[in-house]
Symmetry: C4
Subunit: 240 residues, 4 copies
Amino acid sequence: MTLSRRLTAEALGTAILLAVVVGSGIMAERLSGGNVAVALLANTIATGAGLVALILMFGTISGAHFNPAVTLSEAWQRNVPAAEVLPYIVVQIIGAFAGVAAAHGMFGEPLFFASEHVRSGPAQWWSEFVATFGLIGVIIGCSRSRPSITPFAVAAYITAAYWFTSSTSFANPAVTLARAASNTFAGIRPVDAPGFIVAQLAGMAAATTLFCWLYPAPPADATVGGTVAPGDFADSLEKP
Amino acid sequence: MTLSRRLTAEALGTAILLAVVVGSGIMAERLSGGNVAVALLANTIATGAGLVALILMFGTISGAHFNPAVTLSEAWQRNVPAAEVLPYIVVQIIGAFAGVAAAHGMFGEPLFFASEHVRSGPAQWWSEFVATFGLIGVIIGCSRSRPSITPFAVAAYITAAYWFTSSTSFANPAVTLARAASNTFAGIRPVDAPGFIVAQLAGMAAATTLFCWLYPAPPADATVGGTVAPGDFADSLEKP
Amino acid sequence: MTLSRRLTAEALGTAILLAVVVGSGIMAERLSGGNVAVALLANTIATGAGLVALILMFGTISGAHFNPAVTLSEAWQRNVPAAEVLPYIVVQIIGAFAGVAAAHGMFGEPLFFASEHVRSGPAQWWSEFVATFGLIGVIIGCSRSRPSITPFAVAAYITAAYWFTSSTSFANPAVTLARAASNTFAGIRPVDAPGFIVAQLAGMAAATTLFCWLYPAPPADATVGGTVAPGDFADSLEKP
Amino acid sequence: MTLSRRLTAEALGTAILLAVVVGSGIMAERLSGGNVAVALLANTIATGAGLVALILMFGTISGAHFNPAVTLSEAWQRNVPAAEVLPYIVVQIIGAFAGVAAAHGMFGEPLFFASEHVRSGPAQWWSEFVATFGLIGVIIGCSRSRPSITPFAVAAYITAAYWFTSSTSFANPAVTLARAASNTFAGIRPVDAPGFIVAQLAGMAAATTLFCWLYPAPPADATVGGTVAPGDFADSLEKP
């Protein structure tokens, strides 16, 4: 795949992901009549299902990272060339903000407005560390043992992580930045974003270190001439 | 597959799809005691699960479009002969109305009665554009890279789209027309249907253009003598 | 597989299925505080998930019918020898009642007590016709085109059918009889059972006729020497 | 895989499993405003989805038992060497307590505090017997017929079992011990733990006996030189 196609896929995929997260949060909060558990359940199911579709539809093009932490971890493992890390991250962030604006447009909200949702403190930072640690672990573990199933494993993991962390598991620096521009159910105060991102990167580093020991890298020739693109952790079910 | 079998599959599949959407909406509204979030959650889960079953059971016959926007996009990509577009769309619409009547019969409602549910305005039209854009993107992306998984990707996408769009994602002109004949949870005023359909077709055109660039068409001989029927975006898991 | 193993699988599978349906209904009603939509949603998710597990764990032994209507349809298609129809149905019914008793034991209820839940009238009979028609259609369609995926398609279909029919989709004569012995959420008055069963058998007959035309039978040698047992509509993903 | 990697996988996997179960229980109870059905539904969906991810990410390393009852059943079937049973169980228990502490840290609770949640009596013991019987049955049935699908079958089974048993289906001695150290939604009084564990082991023994008869063991050479590790009941989809 050409780099232009891959960057388009990352931008578009991250945009739709944010549209799903923020849009379903708005819908859920409006309809739930104040029952936050029901609202978060709807937000969770929409996000998990959306991730299945998005990773399946974009995975074979760009690897379907949609997440700077994933791109950094893949580059660390030499699955993504160092020269492509910055372009990947830039388009992910641009896509994320575009997706927030798209969602706001669908619900008649301003394109961007800073969140007032407080998300801070050690419990939430620890939550983001754990959430990102687990996400990177799922990706490394599955992509090194059964890559065709990774899209389902990632979506299932995030579905669980919305509930087992007190932060509802952002686990993604681009998502964190863009959600700071949405004063809705899914928002986070801009001032709280850096703490989340630091915790996410620490969780990414810990998971990459541990899981690369746990799953030794496949032999180099496993991808030579193969059909798996670099960084593709969402390979198709029907390919060997 | 003969054309008669394929048209039967499209009519029957679209009928059951509408029975699922409208019937589960009626059940959800009756039981939910006014909690619209719970009602929409039940409607969503029923629709997503129903789509999995329907695309799997009819996909290898007709491609399991159940949707004029999908048929038009497939014809644009020359996966469906031009001469079959009109028959496909006609039986989809007939099936859709039959499904609404079947659902009404299951809940003791009149066979048809015009909806009074207002669904209009730029936010909802933009929602339908986005919803259909994403649906066509999922279908093109998956059918060109891992077709056996498309049924799950489409169902997951619609599950998410019920929540991340303010229109609850009709994304289907035949469904839109038929839901205008149901004054229930899933209905739409007849006068609002044209706006939805225009937005859906625009989203279809944008997605077909973009995703055909993103995913270059497979080589022509990929389907020569193969087991994949034209327009089949729901190929089976066990076929290579 | 020997007949004794197959009958054990049918009895045990049907027993666990009834334990899931009745047990989750009791739990859901007790916890839901009168919100029937939430109770039915929990009942639905438990049943759908339970069916996935049960068909996967017993499918390669007995075909995982758990349902006299399925056994009759399979015998009609000559996938089950005529001599085995009665034994299959007898153990399904015995298993169904054992499962109801097991569930009652788990919740401290009497082993059996007749239901007072009224389920009758044309709308509900039409619902049972439609529900069983669709179930048999899913089974024939998937087992003739992509058998490894049938367990998921059947479970997804039932998940939808709990909501899009006014009867909550029994679609199974053995289940209907056994639920008459449970005066709980999932029950049905004994006097209402015959109407349901007649509608189910009519739906089965209509679907078997239509779908056998829609999907011509595979050539006879497709199963000669193969790994697919007669009546196995739940073949494994990893087998070709 | 080396034993150190396998024990790390068991410890880490069990830890994340407990973090999911306990953490999502805390979140669900806090948000649900007293509606226990909604809380248990969220707890269920998080646990089921988490299990999918965990078994997929660790299955090819250690078999993804996370459960002394599973390890004992696998050793009984000679899939795990006798000398490894104790190390497996020890790290499972250590991991389970670590996961509870991790969850408590994410929600600002004490690291450990004894549960006051009464779970006792014949109905709940019978529930734990049935729950573990079914779990072991799912694992043996799927791992002997279609191992690549086992992760989904196990997760689906537990999703159902949260609802169809009055105990919410612990079905795991390590999980039972660790949940005794959490005075939250998912807790169990320490004094009630032994009764649960006895019932679980009885259910394990009954299921191992019955299902080993139902599914004759595969021929010895089926794993000689193959890609399936001993005890691996979560083999990948893409492997033959």
